[in-house]
Symmetry: C2
Subunit: 254 residues, 2 copies
């Protein structure tokens, strides 16, 4: 399950001379409905052509496929066009910790910039498609277009802020608070992508939720049942409907 379809958009040449993608099936940032999530608002039209050069290729993943593995050589960041992924890190003794769940418009691979190799795994939780963004090109364009440079720095910094939020979650919140925060976070991100804020399909297992939240799968399952009994949510396997967002918000803060 590790082979994945790669659609090359332009011949691999020196990064400095890559041609923009063209053709009906090919990536087009200008018309991408995730544009506002990927790209800074300040990008002017005259720069868009250059921005689209960044998208070297697309890559399709089936559920279970690895986008990259810990230790793989780092060359590119990935922008999610569609689908749902998880990222994990591995312990010396083999334990795995889920570090995040990513959806459309979010960037993957930031952990590879510093060390030349990806630090963790990225795995598709459903069939997905990503844009491949060679990092050398990003840096080159960043030097020429300040809005691109600024955007990269913002993305990196916001990932740090997100991680600090997870530390807060893991370090000082109860199991109940963690799951409430998790559901509200998913809700907010689905909303930003035009999906229902209250009705969604979990792409990850109870075990993966538990790993992310520092809990065991049984605890997650029990909490879902409790939230259901308390009238906060409806839950049936992977389908969740939030009935009482203020109620969850109150839990998150107590």
């Amino acid at each position: 399950m590790q082979t994945a379809t790669i659609t090359r958009l332009s011949p691999r040449q020196s990064p400095a001379t890559m041609q923009p993608a063209s053709g009906k099936h090919e990536t087009n940032c200008t018309s991408c409905n995730l544009r506002e999530l990927c790209l800074p608002k300040q990008i002017v039209d005259s720069d868009m052509a250059r921005v689209e050069q960044l998208v070297f290729a697309r890559r399709r993943l089936k559920r279970g496929d690895f986008l990259f593995k810990a230790g793989d050589e780092f060359n590119s960041l990935y922008a999610i066009r569609s689908g749902f992924l998880k990222t994990t890190v591995l312990n010396a003794d083999g334990r795995e910790q889920v570090t995040g769940f990513q959806m459309g418009g979010e960037l993957l691979g930031l952990d590879g910039i510093g060390g030349g190799r990806y630090n963790g795994n990225a795995v598709a939780l459903e069939d997905s498609e990503v844009c491949v963004l060679p990092f050398a090109l990003i840096e080159e364009l960043g030097r020429e277009i300040p809005a691109i440079q600024r955007n990269l720095h913002s993305v990196l910094s916001r990932e740090i802020v997100r991680d600090h939020g997870v530390m807060m979650l893991l370090g000082s919140m109860s199991a109940e608070e963690r799951l409430a925060a998790f559901l509200l976070n998913l809700s907010r991100r689905f909303t930003a992508r035009g999906y229902s804020a209250s009705d969604f399909h979990l792409r990850m297992t109870r075990e993966e939720i538990g790993s992310y939240l520092g809990l065991k799968l049984e605890t997650v399952s029990r909490l879902f049942s409790r939230f259901h009994a308390d009238g906060l949510i409806e839950v049936q396997q992977k389908h969740v409907r939030i009935l009482d967002i203020p109620g969850l918000e109150a839990l998150r803060r107590n």
Copy 2:
């Protein structure tokens, strides 16, 4: 305790025209003994003069002083010249989570780049001195000197990797494993700065260690006592001597 001495190194002009620092008491990256921690090896001499323009000022902090607070306007990163700091984030209901402890050569303020405001607090745990690096200058120089650009990206990415390590710690390790990993991490970082790997003074309280590790202060205290009883460390208040590094490494992995 929020006022802090600021030593201005050069008159505040347009960032692009700032003059390099000079004078016997003034910052000099070339001769700074933390240079190898702050700066990429690839910096050539001809670029060093420009790099030193980055250091707009130094700032002295007394123990307890805030370097910045959550919500403060973001303008600069800070490089620690000497001393020891902690960073924290705050909950909606006032709980505080320690997100890290920083020492000489490490960069602070990365969490402010994305939002225009610092996301958390930075507090000096002992009298400290930092170099003030206006971020607009860093970005400007990054556009002109690829080694600087690369270095900034590496620093940001490595912070993400570090955060993922903390998530692993908090999400899937026992109290004992967490404290062992914490002590070994401190040991490694002191070693890199020329201090003893096995004999050091903790600048933070049991409560701050506990917050960082997701434990209560009593648990931290009990673990210190247990490690002592097991012959792994000697501990007397804030003075710690590691007696058995392999023993701690074995704990970290079990």
